[in-house]
């Protein structure tokens, strides 16, 4: 693997390989010395054109645990805010000797442009591009589900037979898109549950079922309920009448969670709008995997950086 741009072009074997490497990376946290010398001398640049806390910090921690040098650029406070083009930024980073660039950009396809342009030879990791994809988030979600279901016996397994309901703002969610492709290739069945205004115009090419009733979706007893954040920063029109109404019809609260089978887990990619799409009680309950997702994010990102950077550049 040279780049990680989307989960759509991952093969099942590649995805499982990354998840398995992440299992090994997860062991590092229990070591006396929580650092591996594997990527010593490699330079990884985090290029963030959009705000982020957990993804940026997670990539930084992951790179540092593998002994790589990390440089983080935020759009604010760098020449990016002076209007420098993506091309000039990329060429600057190439001249500085970056081995990998982790990029988050508000434009869908930005990471693909970087990878295909020839401006920079480094490996590109998509850390979220517009409303397109966020592959490492999907990988860590799959990893979290697999670990909850199989524990130490998770290695080598897919998610065959697991049912996942993704609920909420599908339209603006790159997390949803990446998860649809990844979970499907791993063998899970995915259903999207959202008001019609928060669904893409057409989901006909997607391997999913679509529903418009959260209670019916919960009564179907999915193994995983994945709540999505209402992305108010991307909402330039009225997608639902009011916050109160959204929370009442689409919010996951105690009464709704009680309809789920006891083993079902509740996921949220964060940051959460407590009280809007998910109630504080549910977010902090034992079903919730929110903090596991954050911890697993480091293991997954270590696995991705390892897979992209440790070997010789071949394919």
């Amino acid at each position: 693997m040279r780049h990680l741009l989307s989960t759509k072009d991952l093969a099942r074997s590649e995805a499982i390989a990354v998840l398995d490497v992440a299992e090994d990376m997860a062991q590092i946290t229990s070591l006396e010395v929580r650092k591996l010398p594997t990527l010593r001398g490699k330079t990884i640049v985090n290029l963030f054109f959009e705000d982020s806390t957990r993804t940026r910090v997670s990539f930084e921690v992951a790179a540092k645990r593998l002994s790589a040098d990390v440089i983080t650029f935020n759009a604010k406070g760098s020449s990016l805010s002076k209007g420098e083009s993506l091309k000039d930024t990329a060429q600057t980073l190439a001249a500085l000797g970056a081995d990998a660039v982790v990029v988050r950009h508000p434009a869908s396809g930005a990471s693909r442009v970087l990878a295909d342009s020839g401006w920079i030879a480094a490996g590109i990791v998509n850390a979220g591009d517009g409303t397109h994809e966020h592959p490492t988030q999907a990988l860590l979600d799959a990893f979290t589900i697999r670990r909850r279901l199989h524990g130490d016996a998770a290695r080598g397994r897919g998610l065959d037979g697991v049912s996942v309901a993704i609920v909420g703002d599908i339209l603006h969610s790159r997390v949803a898109r990446s998860n649809v492709w990844l979970l499907t290739i791993l063998g899970a069945t995915v259903s999207l549950v959202a008001p019609a205004t928060l669904l893409p115009v057409s989901t006909s090419g997607w391997p999913v079922t679509v529903g418009h009733d959260l209670d019916a979706a919960l009564d179907a007893g999915p193994d995983v309920v994945m709540m999505l954040r209402i992305q108010s920063e991307r909402m330039n029109a009225a997608f639902f009448p009011s916050v109160g109404e959204y929370s009442r019809i689409w919010g996951l609260d105690d009464q709704r969670v009680a309809r789920l089978p006891p083993a079902s887990m509740v996921m949220h990619p964060g940051p959460m709008n407590r009280g809007l799409e998910i109630s504080a009680n549910v977010a902090d309950s034992a079903r919730s995997t929110v903090l596991e997702q954050v911890a697993n994010g480091v293991s997954i990102r270590m696995a991705v950086l390892y897979t992209l950077l440790a070997g010789s550049v071949s394919a």
């Binding site: 693997m1 398995d20 062991q27 070591l31 006396e32 594997t38 290695r155 390892y306």
Partner: protein
Amino acid sequence: MSARIVLQPSDIARALTRITHEILESNRGGADLVILGIPTRGVFLARRIGAALDSIEPGSGLVGALDVTMYRDDLAHNPTRPPHRTDLPPGGITGKTVVLVDDVLYSGRTVRAALDALGALGRPRVVRLAVLVDRGHRELPIRADFVGKNLPTSTKERVSVRLIEIDRAEEVTIQ
């Protein structure tokens, strides 16, 4: 070029039994022993040595696996290799006598990586090295303490260890 068998199943069993006794002799008993196999085949050899230790001195065969992939110095020269799992017996390795087990000792680079990997896990009192085959051609100042068979080879030859646990055969061949 055809492969020549240098160790039969019975030879392998005898070698491991002898190594087991040598480990016990050098450690003056089975106290504080931790046998760590280096994946892939070292792990199976370590388990066999552990079982043999346990039958001689019950409770002495603490076995684990030590993956060294992340510590190799040749990572950048090969396609990305998947790491294996590291498993330590309860109690860890600090203050213990650790015996590293691998199938073939060649350049010594795997063992160097293993020594680095151990450093991240704790501080053993002593580290020893047991190998089924020592084929020479060391590139580092590393020597095995317990050797199943010394096998003079040329660098052009290939030594293959097959173990019944994963290879459906039990033999050491050279070709």
